[in-house]
Amino acid sequence: MSNTSKSPWLIHYDGSSCNGCDIEVLACLTPLYDIERFGIINTGNPKHADIFLVTGSVNEKNAPVIRQIYEGMLEPKAVIAVGVCAASGGVFRRCYNVVGGIDRVIPVDVYVPGCAARPEAIIDGVVKGLEILEKKRDTVRASKNKISEVS
């Protein structure tokens, strides 16, 4: 874990998931899997969060909520879609009230497979997200430096 310099906090939102992935996300936070050893804490405030973890697919009603949380988060930020529903709609793909995966509304950085996604897979996804976050942080820093050079 040499690639993280900060302790990233995550925010979790349940799109239209069946709870399967959500309780596995919670299981990640608890002693057996203990994602907190990477400095990760589950927060309820988008402004505090660096990683947005979404489970479940998008429908008409929750799309604005997902967008609102995403926009509330400060740059740099990473989005992780957990489970097949968040990737494509999964088993509910043919339901009338399912629009599709999370990438129909916001850009996604990491897709975690599985129905329900296993905690190991979620942790792997989050660690991949951390790398992306680090890269984005560098980009933000570089552009800031450039701006200060110009001005």
Binding site: H12, C18, N19, I23, P31, L32, N59, C95, V98
Partner: protein, 360 residues
């Protein structure tokens, strides 16, 4: 007489992993009225019955809810078996009973953990979930999945459990019981936990009956009601007697669930000891019979109702599920009236809401 304010609660709220929205009308610190609005997780999966053949549909039905997934699968296959007049082998029925009780243990422990979290008692939440992992591990070893099991099928179960595995389940359940006792002592005796639960969110017996509460919520208010008495699975043979509480406050609901937890440990041990030999499935072929069938099942959260209507094809004409949280929402709104704003998360949690069941 203070000014009335409306406070929105949810859909994204740290206390609940699921989205539910409440408009809380408050006066000073007291909640006058709570107006729930749902629909964030509606998928419309009952409609999928028209495009998925009936043996396939069980995978969709299991995913109504990831917490009570076994119960949903069980309810659906039992309803289809009833429609087609299929007799399930003894052993399959006992295995289903065992898994169903294991899923009740995992669901109730999940609830205990979330309640501890809602109380602000984070270490208790962590400990409860640590103990719960033992049960999930047993599911993983016997069914191949931690939360979605896909082990029920029309005509029986997909996998058998070997003798050694049964012994292991029994020993794991004994260990879990030992560890749970320490935790439940905290829930039932700790002063800080009691001060948050006792006398909060009272639902009288009359209200529970009038508002059609189900499951532990109804039983904590003293209503004698449990669908396991209706002859589902093998509960009749196992000498089952429901846990009835009194008082109808948050503490009573917590106590009922803890007693049910101990009862489920007993039932799992008992099923493992009386498990008969034999096949675990019968072949079910051909189209569905025309006709309809309805069955009721006791899930961890209460009574769930399954209705299926066949029309002679391989597709169900109508599939309907009524889930326990749906029935408990009116009771929740009643409990919230007059409570303190700070108690709202705890009261919402004590009905053990499962929004993805409710909205499907």
């Amino acid at each position: 007489m203070g000014k009335r304010t409306v406070i929105p609660f949810g859909p994204q709220h740290p206390i609940l992993p699921e989205p539910v929205h409440l408009d809380l009308v408050i006066e000073d610190e007291k909640v006058i009225e709570a107006v729930p609005s749902i629909g964030f997780i509606h998928r419309g999966l009952e409609k999928l019955a028209e495009v998925r053949e009936y043996p396939e549909l069980v995978y969709v039905i299991e995913r109504i809810c990831g917490i009570c997934s076994f119960g949903h699968g069980l309810g659906y296959v039992t309803a289809v078996e009833g429609l087609m007049g299929v007799e399930v082998p003894e052993r399959a029925d006992y295995l289903r009973t065992m898994w169903h009780e294991l899923s009740r243990i995992h669901s109730h422990m999940l609830w205990l953990g979330l309640t501890a979290d809602a109380l602000g008692f984070e270490s208790l939440f962590m400990h409860t979930w640590k103990v719960r992992e033992r049960i999930l591990n047993m599911f993983d070893l016997t069914t191949g999945g931690r939360v979605i099991h896909s082990v029920c099928k029309v005509g029986g179960v997909r996998r058998d459990v070997e003798e050694e595995m049964l012994d292991r389940i029994v020993s794991e359940v004994r260990e879990t019981r030992k560890e749970t006792r320490k935790l439940t002592d905290v829930f039932l005796r700790d002063t800080s936990v009691k001060s948050r639960l006792c006398g909060v969110g009272i639902l009288s017996k009359e209200d529970a009956e009038e508002l059609c509460a189900v499951g532990p919520v109804a039983r904590a208010s003293g209503v004698y009601q449990d669908m396991r008495l209706n002859g589902m699975c093998k509960y009749g043979e196992l000498g089952f007697e429901p846990v009835i509480g009194e008082g109808g406050d948050c503490y009573a609901r917590c106590k009922v669930r803890i007693s049910e937890l101990n009862q489920s440990f007993d039932i799992v041990e008992k099923t493992a000891s009386v498990m008969p030999d034999g096949p675990v499935e019968v072949q079910v072929r051909g189209p569905l019979q025309a006709g309809e069938f309805m069955m009721r099942l006791e899930q961890p959260r209460g009574e769930a109702l399954y209705y299926v209507r066949g029309n002679g094809t391989r597709y169900l004409e109508r599939m309907r599920v009524r889930t326990p949280t749906n029935m408990n929402l009116p009771s929740m709104v009643r409990m919230l009236q007059g409570c303190d704003l700070a108690d709202v998360p705890v009261i919402i949690l004590t009905i053990d809401p499962c929004i993805s069941c409710t909205e499907r």
